[in-house]
Symmetry: C2
Subunit: 456 residues, 2 copies
C-alpha cells in the first residue's frame, strides 16, 4: 500500500481556542428555565454547582474562548490526537470512498471525556474548590474526572451506579489508581441515598439516583462542586478541540469531508467532531453533511420530542429544550452505556431543529458487527458507543460504492473498547440481541413532559 | 510548564531496517545445540517450526536487515510510537534528572508484542503457511499474533493456559475479536494435552504445556507453523525498531540518554529498547548505562546461572546458553505474567556476560507503587511488567537527586495495564505481597541443568 495512514499535528499546532457555535447560530438556542419559576436561570442559580468561569462559558456568545495554558500543558500528554486513514477498511468494503477517523482513544482514560474533565478540574481548582463530586455509570466519565483531579490535586468522589460498581470492578480500579474515591450509589452518605435504601436496601442504583447524590453533596459543602460529562454547553465547547484538530488534519490529507459522523448519546462527542464543521459552513465555508449516529434503543434525536424537559430523573435540574424521550424513560440495558440518556444536548437539538444535521439510529448487533470488521482491518477494538459511528461510516461508504462516488468520510472514533470486552464476549457467544424499548412506556414518558408555555 | 512533552516521528521517519546486534558483538554468541547430538542446530532442524526467512534472521550476522514494505505498512497503524518527557513525574520526585519514556502501549494490542507478531505473520504468509499456532499465558502475545493474523488472512490458534482462559475471559474476547481460535490448554486436541489430562482432568495448565501442544500441532501439519513471542534472536531483532526510533527521538530532544532501562522477562522488550544503544557504543559512539529490570521473584539475570538449558519445561526445544533458573523452576504467581520465564534471551545473556549491561531486580509491591505514582502524574496506567522499568527509572532519578546530577534517563513503557486492573485492584485492597520462590527449589532446578561440555 505504502500510503500515508496517520495525519499528525505537532504540539505547537494544538488549538489555542475552543470554538463556540453559539456565536454563529442563525437563531439563539432557547433559554434554560428554572423549574419553579419557569424563568431563565441566572448565574446565581448555578453557582452552588459550578465555578463562575464554567457558568460564563455556558452562556457565552464569543466565537473563540481561550484554552488556558495549564490545560494545554495537560493535553500535551495525548493531544493533538491522530487522524487516521482507514485504508484496510476501505479495501474490505470495496468502496471508492476515503474513510478517515479521528481517534480519541489515545487519552489516558481511553476516550474523549478527558477533553472536558481536564478544563473542568482546572477551573474548579482555580476557584479554590477542594473536591469534585460526580456520577458515573459504566465508568468512562468517572475515570476521566479522576485522572484530571489527580493532575491538579483535587479530591474526586465518584458515585457509581451500584450494579456497575459490583460488576465492573476494573473500571473502579482505574479510578482508584488515579486516587479517586468511588462510592456505590445509592449510598448511606446522602439524604437522598438513604431514602432510596430505606425503601429497598438492595437497590441496584441508576444514573439518575447517582446524579442526585452527587448534586446533594456539592450543594451542601462550600469546598465542593459538581461536574457533568456531557449535555451542557460548556462541555460541548470543550470537545470542539476534536473537530478543530480534525479540520486541520483533513486539510493535511487534502480531503475536505463530504460527511462528518459522530455517535451521539448526551451529545458532547458528536458536538466535538461536528460543531467546527457546522460553524465553518455557517460562516460561508464548504458544507459537509453532518450525521449523528444514535442507538435505536434510545433514539432521542430520531424518535424523541423537541420539548422542555429535566436533565435527570429526580427532577433536580433546570429545564432545557431538547430532543427527549422523557426524563422518566428508562432505556433498555444495551451495552453502549455512554449512549443511554433520555435527552440530547440542547445545542445539538437546536442544530437539528435548524436543519444543520441529520440523525440515524442503529441496532446493537449491527454496531458490534461493524466494530469487529473495523478491529480486524484497522486493529483498534472500538468502544461499543463508537461502534455506532463506525456503523454509520460503513453505511456511507457502501452508499458511495453503489453510487460510484469517491467521497471523503470522516468519523470520530471516540474511544477504545478495552474495558468493554465483556460485551464483545457476549456478542461472540451469540448472547446479544437488539434491545428495544416499550412503545407504551415511551408514550407515557413523553406524555409526562413538563408543561411549559412555548413563549418561554 | 509549557514544555514539550511528546517527541513524534513522522511515518516517513520510520526505520527501514532492523538492527542486528550480532554484527557488532566483540565475541559471537554461543551456538544453539540439538539436545540429542549436542551439535549446533542447522536450518533443517528448525524448518518444521519456522519459515526459512525467520531461521535465516536467527543466525544472520548482517548489521541491517530490511523491514519489508508490507510490514511497514501495518506498522503505520501505530508506529513510530511516541517518546514522552515525564515532566510531572520529575517534579513529583524533585529530581534534576530528565526522564523520557518510549511508549509502546499505543499498538492495537496495547504492548510492544505486535512489533514481532506482524513480521512473523508476514513471513509465514509469504511462505505459504495457512495457520499459526502459539501459546499464551496472560494473553498479550496471543492477542498480538491474533491481530497480526487478521491483517494477513492467516488462521491463528492460541493455546491459552487453562487458568488464564477461565480467569481472564476479556483477553480471550480480544483474541476472538481479531478472529483467532482460543483453546484452553491442556486440551484434548493434542497427544501431549490428552496425556496430561488423563493424569489430571482438572489440570490448570502451564506455559510449558501450552508450548508443547502448539509445537506438536505445528510439527504435525504442513500448512501450520509455530510462533514465539520472545527469547529467540529474530524476535529480539524485530523489537529493535523501538530503540532505533527512541535514538532519533532522543536526538530531537537533544538529550542523549545516560541510562537506558527496560523490563526483562524473556528479553525481547529489553533488547528492543537497548540493543541499538549498545551497538552504537560498540561502534565507538556515546556510551549509555544499560539496565535490565527484572522481577525479584524470577531473577534469571541477577540470580540465575549462565548455562545451556532448554527453553521449555517439556524439553522439546534445542539447548541455548542463557541465564537460567533451570527449566524445571516454577516462578511464583506474581502479577507481571509476561516476566515469568525461567530463562533470559541468549543474546541478552551473552551481552550480560560481556559486561555490556547491568541487571536489577525489584519486588512486586514496590513496582505497583511506582506504577501508581506514574499513573497519577503521567496519566497512563502501566502494565505490571512495565512497572519494573518505571521503578528502575525512579530509582535512577532519585540517585540523580542525591548526587545532584541532571542525567537523561530513558525507559521503555512496554504496555498499558488496561487488561491488568485486577492486579491493581488487589494492590489497593492490600492483598498483594512480595512473592518469593523457594530457595531449595531453585537449587534443585539449577542442579538439574543438562550437562553440556563447555567447549560446545
Amino acid at each position: 500500500m505504502s500510503m500515508q495512514t496517520k495525519f499528525l499535528l505537532d504540539e505547537s499546532q494544538m488549538p489555542r481556542f475552543w470554538y463556540n457555535i453559539q456565536a454563529d447560530l442563525p437563531k439563539p438556542a432557547p433559554a434554560v428555565l428554572h423549574p419553579g419559576t419557569l424563568q431563565p436561570v441566572g448565574p446565581d442559580d448555578l453557582a452552588p454547582l459550578f465555578p463562575m468561569t464554567l457558568i460564563q462559558q455556558e452562556v457565552s456568545l464569543e466565537r473563540e474562548i481561550e484554552i488556558p495554558e495549564p490545560v494545554r500543558d495537560v493535553f500535551r500528554l495525548w493531544r493533538p490526537s491522530p487522524l487516521m486513514r482507514a485504508h484496510r477498511l476501505e479495501k474490505a468494503l470495496g468502496t471508492p470512498a476515503k474513510i478517515y477517523y479521528k481517534y480519541e482513544g489515545v487519552s489516558p482514560a481511553g476516550s474523549h471525556k478527558p477533553n472536558t474533565a481536564v478544563p473542568q478540574a482546572f477551573y474548579n481548582k482555580e476557584a479554590g474548590v477542594k473536591r469534585l463530586v460526580t456520577e458515573t455509570g459504566a465508568g468512562q466519565w468517572g475515570t476521566s474526572l479522576a485522572f484530571a483531579g489527580s493532575l491538579y490535586g483535587l479530591q474526586v468522589e465518584v458515585y457509581q451506579v451500584r450494579v456497575s460498581y459490583d460488576q465492573k470492578p476494573y473500571r473502579r480500579a482505574v479510578m482508584e489508581t488515579y486516587g479517586a474515591r468511588c462510592v456505590a450509589s445509592p449510598s448511606n452518605e446522602t439524604v437522598y441515598g438513604r431514602s432510596v435504601l430505606s425503601k429497598n436496601p438492595n437497590h441496584p442504583g441508576s444514573l439518575g439516583i447517582a446524579i442526585s447524590e452527587a448534586v446533594e453533596l456539592a450543594v451542601q459543602r462550600d469546598d465542593t462542586k459538581y461536574a457533568l460529562g456531557s449535555v451542557l454547553n460548556h462541555v460541548l465547547l470543550h470537545q470542539t478541540i476534536v473537530g478543530q484538530e480534525a479540520m486541520e488534519q483533513m486539510k493535511m490529507a487534502d480531503a475536505w469531508p463530504d460527511v462528518v459522523i459522530g455517535c451521539a448519546g448526551g451529545g458532547s462527542n458528536f458536538a466535538g467532531i461536528s460543531f467546527p464543521f457546522i460553524g465553518h459552513a455557517l460562516r460561508g465555508g464548504e458544507k459537509s453533511r453532518i450525521v449523528a449516529a444514535e442507538p435505536a434503543a434510545c433514539p432521542s434525536l430520531t424518535r424523541g420530542k423537541y420539548a422542555y424537559d429535566f436533565g435527570d430523573t429526580g427532577h433536580m435540574t433546570p429545564l432545557s429544550k431538547m430532543h427527549t424521550l422523557g426524563s422518566s424513560f428508562t432505556p433498555p440495558g444495551f451495552h453502549a452505556g455512554g449512549l443511554r440518556y433520555h435527552g440530547m444536548a440542547p445545542l445539538v437539538s437546536h442544530c437539528k431543529e435548524l436543519g444543520l444535521l441529520e440523525a440515524v439510529a442503529f441496532n446493537q448487533v449491527e454496531c458490534f458487527e461493524a466494530g469487529v470488521l473495523f478491529a480486524r482491518n484497522e486493529g483498534i477494538v472500538p468502544a461499543p458507543e463508537s461502534n455506532h459511528a463506525v456503523r454509520a461510516a460503513i453505511v456511507e461508504a457502501l452508499r458511495c460504492k453503489r453510487e460510484g462516488k469517491a467521497e471523503n468520510i470522516l468519523f470520530c472514533l471516540s474511544g477504545h473498547g478495552h474495558f468493554d470486552m465483556a460485551s464483545y464476549q457476549k456478542f461472540f457467544a451469540g448472547e446479544l440481541s437488539d434491545e428495544s424499548y416499550d412503545d407504551k412506556e415511551l408514550a407515557m414518558a413523553l406524555a409526562g413532559l413538563p408543561s411549559v408555555a412555548e413563549s418561554a
